[in-house]
């Protein structure tokens, strides 16, 4: 499940009020989530949660659920 905090970061970056994120949601389904905004979302997530992602880890992300899992693993959840 996508946490409220992660959802907020993504919505803020994309200038959206709401979006029904599911684990399997992929970037092209979300208005505004293109490759340039993707970089900004990742940087915003890093800043908000004080974590660092490696580029190669990011290449493995297929959906928002993967991002949540990767974030959780960084936060030792």
């Amino acid at each position: 499940m996508i946490s409220k905090e992660l959802k907020e970061v993504i919505l803020t970056q994309l200038n959206l009020d709401d979006f029904d994120f599911k684990d399997e949601t992929i970037a092209p389904e979300v208005p505004g989530w293109d490759s340039l905004n993707h970089i900004n979302i990742i940087l915003a997530v890093e800043e908000k949660f004080k974590v660092k992602f490696k580029s190669y880890e990011l290449l493995r992300l297929k959906c928002v659920g993967d991002l949540q899992k990767m974030l959780d693993s960084k936060l030792n959840k």
Binding site: P28, G32, S35, H38, I39, F53, K54, Y56, L59
Partner: protein, 577 residues
């Protein structure tokens, strides 16, 4: 140090040139196919040619004839390169098309491809199995030019090459003349509005010679590129030029690069690449969107030249790039600028390698009136970055609206003639007549000349250049005709400068009868989704009441006038987000 030396006559077609390179340097890397986290796949010149022969024999077997157009729609794959060469050996014309983004609705992709097939005269589609359901129906369509769809990544070859067919194809290749068409590329743009440009062997080889000389290429150079090959910048600069000149091109997956920009500095460092190319936005991305830890230990001192082109060159982007990478060995003098277009194969001007790029601090207000005036203390400043001087074989002039040349320092349209000029748009004589006269190509770009340097400052046409990709406002406006909550025909699209990203982003202004904030937000979402359906991200939406948009003399809403009104005004009737 060896010097640039390129004799067109000793191998006057591309296949002959590639074969010659393979004979001279069989074990040299031709293509290093880079995939993040994996050992790269290395095509030596010999292996590449051997494999290309197999593809060309298969193409012959399938009955593809000389002069027919083979459009490839294939993701980053090591088999792409010998396939491309094989098509050329069989004297067919390769045309690289973009693989559709998942965001693009399949129907829209099919419609775009259908329009392009008709306009460009595509004969065959060579693609991946995944696209079969989308592409195959095009063959049955009435009036379709597409004869068949093939899946070359699945082709399996016997150990032994069929010597009879191989000899037949070699015969075809040997009879190909330098003036015969070699490839079809599209002036970059969206869907149906792309213009097909056919280039001859001679045009391309002349360009290798002239741009290669301007770049001061040597046998020791290695090119590192993430640029997509469906774009003239990637196809000519980072693929055709190195392969024809016989040096190494390292190809990074564009989709991977945009998610992991560190790949470019990493590849430069690991492979000791000397030459690279990127549009302006990439300088911002590289400077600002990579974590410091990922750059640790990288060494960019091998980089001799990195060329900025395909969108306006911005002073701040270069400053940021140098500031970030100087400590990793980047030579600030490696930065260069190029101006060009697919219609002259690629380049028309280039700044001098190894020298500072000339810049002018000018008065922005005077410039908007068409006069380049050096800034004084009262000026609103604009820094103009040079795109260099004409390369050999190219002549440029700046002209007024009557196409008469104007003096240095005055802003006008850039006109170009080149030894590598296209022969007109394929199947599009009316468009060719519009832009070509007396051997000059009228670019639609605005600029001025100063002390021999060309400065490109804007566009006559309304094209939006977002991250190096040309977007036609008409495509966006068309798709808005069916959006719920909008008045049909009352939307315009335009580009807005995004200083942070060093590029333009897409904005739309639409007339709507929606009145409440809630309704306007719903309309905005509809607009964003409509943009997504044609793979265009809309960054800013302005909503205005009916009859707000200013019309041009043609009766259509004016992009320029409405953009200016929106940016400068504080109209209470405008809702934006």
């Amino acid at each position: 140090m060896s010097e640039f030396n390129f004799n067109i006559e000793e191998a006057p077609t591309l296949w002959k040139r590639w074969k010659l390179n393979s004979e001279r340097n069989p074990d040299r890397d031709a293509i290093v196919h880079w995939v993040a986290g994996q050992e790269p796949f290395r095509w030596t010149y010999k292996n590449l040619i051997d494999s290309a022969k197999r593809f060309s024999v298969k193409i012959r077997e399938l009955g593809i004839k000389p002069g027919e157009v083979c459009a490839t729609i294939i993701r980053h794959n090591p088999k792409f390169y010998p396939l491309y060469l094989g098509i050329s050996r069989a004297a067919a014309l390769p045309a690289v098309l973009a693989y559709p983004n998942p965001r693009l609705h399949p129907d829209k992709f099919r419609q775009g491809l259908e329009g392009m097939a008709l306009r460009s005269g595509l004969d065959y589609i060579l693609t991946e199995r995944e696209l079969e359901p989308i592409v195959k129906p095009l063959i049955e369509k009435t009036g379709s030019t597409i004869k068949a769809v093939y899946f070359p990544l699945e082709w399996e070859f016997n150990a032994e090459l069929d010597s009879k067919l191989d000899a037949e194809v070699e015969e075809v290749a040997s009879k190909t003349k330098d003036t015969d068409p070699m490839l079809l590329q599209h002036s970059s743009g969206t869907t149906g509005l792309q213009k097909p440009v056919v280039l001859s062997h001679r045009a391309i080889l002349c360009h290798v010679k002239n741009l290669g000389a301007a770049l001061k290429l040597t046998e020791k150079d290695k090119i590192a590129s993430w640029l997509p090959l469906y774009h003239d910048f990637g196809l000519i600069a980072a693929y055709q030029i190195p392969l024809a000149y016989g040096i190494t091109s390292i190809q990074i997956d564009p989709f991977e690069w945009v998610l992991a920009p560190v790949l470019l500095p990493e590849v430069i460092s690991k492979e000791k690449a000397t030459t690279s190319f990127s549009p302006n936005f990439a300088y911002n991305v590289l400077a600002e969107k990579i974590n410091e830890e990922e750059l640790e230990g990288l060494d960019l001192s091998s980089l001799r030249i990195i060329v900025n082109a395909a969108e306006p060159i911005r002073h701040d982007s270069h400053e940021k790039f140098i500031a970030r990478f100087k400590k990793y060995g980047l030579n600030p003098l490696a930065l260069a600028g190029l101006y060009g277009m697919a219609e002259v194969t690629l380049g028309a001007t280039l700044t001098e390698p190894g020298k500072p790029i000339p810049e002018l601090s000018v008065d922005r207000n005077e410039l908007s009136r068409g006069i380049m005036k050096l800034a004084n203390k009262d000026s609103v400043l604009r820094v103009c970055v040079s795109s260099g001087q004409p390369i050999d074989g190219c002549k440029l002039k700046i002209v007024d609206e009557n196409r008469n040349e104007i003096e240095d320092g005055l802003v006008g349209e850039v006109a170009v003639t080149s030894a590598s000029m296209f022969d007109g748009y394929r199947n599009y004589p009316e468009k060719t007549t519009e832009v070509v006269a007396n051997g000059m190509y009228y670019s639609g770009d605005y600029g001025f000349r100063w002390k021999g340097e060309y400065y490109i400052i804007g566009r006559k046409k309304d094209i939006i250049i977002c991250a190096g990709k040309n977007i036609y406002p008409e495509d966006i406006e068309d798709v808005m005709n069916n959006v719920d909550g909008l008045i049909p025909g009352r939307t315009i699209a335009f580009g807005l400068e995004d200083v942070d990203m060093g590029t333009e982003v897409v904005a739309v202004v639409s007339e709507t009868r929606a009145e409440t904030d809630e309704d306007k937000n719903k309309v905005r979402m509809n607009i964003l989704k409509a943009g997504m359906s044609i793979d265009i991200i809309i960054h800013k939406v302005y909503l205005v009441p009916p009859r707000w948009l200013i019309k041009s003399s043609s009766g259509k809403p004016s992009r320029k006038a409405n953009k200016e009104r929106l940016i400068s005004g504080t109209d209470q009737l405008v809702w934006s987000r």
